[in-house]
Symmetry: C2
Subunit: 127 residues, 2 copies
Amino acid sequence: MKASESVLAAMRQTNEVFDAEVVRKGNINELDRVYTANARILPPGAPMVEGRDQIKSFWQQAIAGLDVKNATLATEAADAVGDGVVEIGRADLTLGNGQSVTAKYVVCWRQEDGHWKWHVDIWNFNQ
Amino acid sequence: MKASESVLAAMRQTNEVFDAEVVRKGNINELDRVYTANARILPPGAPMVEGRDQIKSFWQQAIAGLDVKNATLATEAADAVGDGVVEIGRADLTLGNGQSVTAKYVVCWRQEDGHWKWHVDIWNFNQ
């Protein structure tokens, strides 16, 4: 079953926090609004990272290291599964040198304190 | 909520079909028992692949191209979510040249015709 329009709208808000606040302004603590407290991320080129504090450290280094200027996230599919949503999406990153990089991802969403957040987040690159 | 022991056992059976039948014996059609008919895979280094027939073509080429000799799959976490399961796991691949490669993955499981199968499958490598 597809996720409802209201859930999709809430998801877009969360995704926008990641792009506008975390990536573009460097407000790493805004990841509190993006990831659940016990979220897990599975980044390419690194081991799994567990827990929001560790995830903050990861993104701080990754955004600086890659010099990511913005990250546009687009949902390609979002299925409501139980009390969660499984999303397949695409991330277009712009780097400081002007290069563009496209990643695809799967995010398992959960509600935490009434907000939709990323609970499991894995991605890779097409090239 | 963690997946039940009986579901975990069914998942292990499916994972074993992938290793024993598909990878080690090259029986690509056994992927009928592994993936749902409209499954999607998100492989690193390639675009998303949709549908079991396309997935068979992908794996036929990938297994031959990388000369994968076996693929040991280990579940690290499996959460029951609605009528599905979200699994985080680790895959240890042995290649023809004796090299070992480790991948981590997220699989969203669904039941199809009473069998637990991979519905969304994404992975990447630590290095």
